[in-house]
Symmetry: C2
Subunit: 186 residues, 2 copies
């Protein structure tokens, strides 16, 4: 298990840097003094300001009602060091176990929500439910990110991206094309 890194707060409109590349995420929640964690791969950035984040949380997940009722969660960004934990979290249900305890993860207070953040993750993005209009029809939640913190290093995390069938791709090298951008597009 990785040690907890030193973290810094970042403006919420900057979370696209970490979420737009499409990594697998861990979603932590609290409802009636119980906590839970789920693995999530279906998500997108929807707006910079307010900082909107949309995602599908299947109704079969134990987290679904916890998040719908509490109207908040923390979206946590794991790196490759947590790959096995991520998979195990996705293959167990919080109905029967305490996932923080089961997987040796540390719940810490998050700024702006009652849901706990996961200390061992690279980034922690506290979310409040912003629009529930599409939950019944598509299990689609639109959240506002109300606080954000990321590890001070590395500059970009090594993340895992799910392709189905138990297979992930890992984020690799970084390339810049800043010179091809119009200033207004950066």
């Amino acid at each position: 298990m990785p040690h907890t890194a030193t973290k810094q707060s970042i403006p919420v409109e900057r979370v696209r840097r970490y979420l737009e590349p499409g990594p697998i995420l861990l979603v932590s929640s609290r409802w009636r003094e119980k906590t839970n964690i789920m693995t999530m791969g279906w998500h997108l950035i929807m707006e910079f300001s307010p900082s909107l984040f949309g995602c599908v949380i299947a109704a079969g997940n134990h987290s679904f009602e916890m998040i719908r009722e509490s109207r908040e969660c923390v979206v946590n960004l794991p790196t490759t060091q947590l790959t096995d934990t991520v998979v195990k979290i996705g293959n167990t249900s919080g109905a029967g176990i305490d996932k923080f305890a089961e997987f040796g993860l540390t719940p810490l207070d998050a700024e702006g929500v009652n849901a706990p953040l996961i200390a061992e993750c690279y980034g922690n993005f506290a979310c409040r439910l912003y629009d529930d209009a599409l939950i019944d029809k598509y299990n689609f939640f639109i959240f506002e990110v109300v606080s954000a913190q990321v590890a001070t290093r590395p500059d970009l995390p090594e993340t895992i991206h799910y392709t189905g069938d138990g297979v992930f791709t890992v984020s690799g090298k970084t390339i810049s094309r800043r010179h091809l951008f119009r200033p207004g597009m950066l």
Copy 2:
């Protein structure tokens, strides 16, 4: 510019393999005999069957009205060979230029929609507008993928993932954790 690869059709419920990892995409459209292409990074898978795909298309894009009016598009998956083209497409407007001609891309007929696909991309996913309920409020489109084809090789493409600021991460190595999955989760 890469040559056009041999492609095979795949079941539409399998598109998550290529889209869930979060790559930058090119969206091609046709309206009143004009075609256009835009670059898109804000998207997610929403359901396997029907095969639902959601994305944000900012109202300032020339493609916005074309896609809203025609109610269809093709979502194309470019690889690193097209990185410069992807950036240039994102930094120009179809109001003034024909992007297929300008960037040397080949429009081909797509199965199930009138919008053209981009031959040079690894994958082509033809989409019909499925739900327009959140277009006005969030520029959020929900499409049904009605046909899909991908290059026969490589098995997984080398894709680019946008972090903002003109910087991309490239998809790297593949890792399997199939042995940690419950059968029903695969």
